[in-house]
């Protein structure tokens, strides 16, 4: 398989405003994703998961290292991947429906057609009946789903999802996971998912990167060789638990 995203020896540091010191967040990271692969990224808070996604999306630049994305030749990756950020970032002056089609609006797509696409997904995203509400009139979970819908509608080959389901209850979360898997299979997407939920990571992924908070190049790779399609009950399976046992000590360190 060809890597669709290939990152070599990537480092990133930020200048700490209080102490004026340079803190290194990502240390010589190697990372890749194959075409059509579902990869999860887990790790403790503050280890740099969102920073890595920002860099992949093109919002931020690394200090050192290489990023190659096979479909994208130019240096400007912005707008060429579907990226759902950790915050919902909905525009307070637009309705749920208008927020969800913002990406299509930016691409100057026909408004009627875009709305049609969004309306078809409202039910699945648990937003039907709320399309004309404004972001501050709906719950955090609904805002997250609206933001997820906005990302999905941009319809790119590669999806970067930063904790897309963190504000959802477990039933809704499980529905959204199933729907995401369906989308992934049907359209052969390549998905990178950041999550704090180990079960979610194992259930969805082909491979899991575990990031750690220490000062070395410390991305551990876990291969999830569970057959697909996977059912909910798989979490009780020995093979599942074995993988979980592999991950847990990495997280705790």
């Amino acid at each position: 398989m060809n890597p669709i995203i290939n990152i070599k020896n990537l480092s990133k540091s930020f200048i700490d405003e209080s102490s004026n010191e340079n803190t290194m967040i990502l240390h010589h990271i190697d990372f890749h994703m194959n075409d059509g692969e579902f990869v999860s990224l887990i790790g403790p808070s503050g280890c740099g998961k969102s920073t890595l996604l920002n860099i992949i999306s093109g919002l931020d630049n690394p200090d050192n290292g290489e990023i190659n994305i096979s479909d994208i030749q130019s240096n400007n990756r912005l707008g060429k991947l579907s990226y759902m950020q950790q915050k919902d970032l909905l525009l307070p002056w637009k309705t749920v429906l208008d927020n969800s089609i913002l990406g299509l609006e930016v691409q100057n797509e026909n408004k009627r057609v875009s709305e049609q696409k969004a309306v078809e997904l409202l039910e699945t995203f648990g937003l039907s009946g709320y399309e004309n509400y404004y972001p501050n009139q709906i719950s955090g979970g609904m805002r997250q789903r609206a933001s997820f819908l906005r990302t999905i509608l941009t319809n790119k080959k590669i999806l970067l999802l930063d904790e897309p389901f963190s504000a959802l209850d477990s039933i809704t979360r499980s529905q959204m996971q199933k729907w995401l898997l369906k989308l992934w299979k049907q359209f052969n997407k390549t998905i990178l998912l950041v999550t704090h939920d180990i079960d979610e990571a194992i259930f969805l992924s082909d491979r899991i990167y575990v990031m750690q908070n220490n000062n070395f190049n410390s991305m551990q790779i876990i291969h999830v060789e569970l057959p697909r399609p996977r059912t909910r009950e798989i979490v009780l399976d020995d093979s599942f638990i074995k993988i979980k046992k592999e991950i847990l000590p990495l997280i705790e360190n």
Binding site: L59, L78, G79, Q85, K87, P92, L102, G103, Q107, T154
Partner: protein, 263 residues
């Protein structure tokens, strides 16, 4: 039907509750003013009592109303000019770095010139007509509107801009879809300040030289010892100010609708 009546009722109630303390206070002050002036036998030319002012308003209503309309007209025309030019120039300054360098320092430093002070010069140049008044009103309201427009366009949430970039938005799309809506609450702050200033601008430019308007009426009535007429003019000016304030607030509620949303 019953529901709408109920809704109107609760709305009236909230309006009543909101305004009631202010109304009571003003009314009490008026009563104290009336009684104490009458007890102390203050002459009318020195300080008329509220009832004198009411009688004056009633007896010379047409005269007062005529002059009020002149002043209102100056304010509305001048204020409209300042809205258009303030927002336009503010927008241009933020959109173009070159224009910012050229114009922004001038705008900031010219804020230190008391616009009122140039009213006599405008009188020399443009005579006693409406034009110098409209210019003073326009200029005096222009600065707060322009400065707040610039502030609003600049104070954008970087996260929202980044989000737009991840969607592939270019500079003008970000300007249109993020910066403009974001600036609206700031612009209304500018409008409120500009509006208050424009009433002052209109009156003072009438004082400097004019043949009509409430400011003119005040200047003319004072030497005639028609103090109650001066007070009536002040009253009408504050009514004009109050109505314009309500108008600006109403427009703000309609245009910046997302700020006042509720479940």
């Amino acid at each position: 039907m019953q529901n709408t009546i109920k809704k109107i009722n609760t709305k009236l109630k909230t309006v009543f509750v909101q305004w009631f303390p202010a109304v009571i206070l003003i009314f009490s002050l008026l009563v104290i003013w009336e009684i104490s002036c009458r007890l102390a036998d203050v002459p009318k030319w020195l300080l008329p009592v509220p009832t004198d002012i009411i009688v004056e308003l009633y007896e010379h209503w047409n005269l007062l109303l005529g002059h009020s309309f002149v002043t209102l007209y100056e304010i509305l025309i001048g204020f409209s000019f300042s809205i258009i030019s303030g927002i336009l120039i503010g927008g241009l300054i933020v959109y173009s770095k070159t224009l910012e360098k050229a114009i922004y320092p001038i705008i900031i430093s010219s804020q230190t010139i008391p616009i009122i002070a140039i009213a006599p010069i405008l009188l020399v140049w443009f005579g006693y007509g409406l034009l110098p008044k409209i210019l003073v009103v326009g200029l005096i309201a222009f600065f707060p509107i322009a400065v707040n427009t610039i502030d609003g366009l600049k104070s954008i949430d970087d996260d929202l801009v980044n989000m737009m970039k991840t969607l592939g938005a270019n500079k003008s799309q970000i300007f249109k879809k993020i910066q403009i809506p974001n600036s609206l609450p700031y612009i209304f702050t500018g409008l409120r300040i500009g509006m208050a200033a424009s009433v002052i601008g209109a009156v003072i430019s009438e004082w400097v030289g004019s043949s009509e308007g409430l400011g003119y009426l005040m200047i003319r009535s004072k030497p005639q010892f028609l103090t109650e007429r001066v007070f009536a003019a002040i009253f009408l000016l504050s009514i004009i100010g109050f109505l314009l304030f309500l108008l600006v607030n109403y427009c703000e509620k309609k245009i910046v609708y997302w700020r006042t949303l509720s479940e």
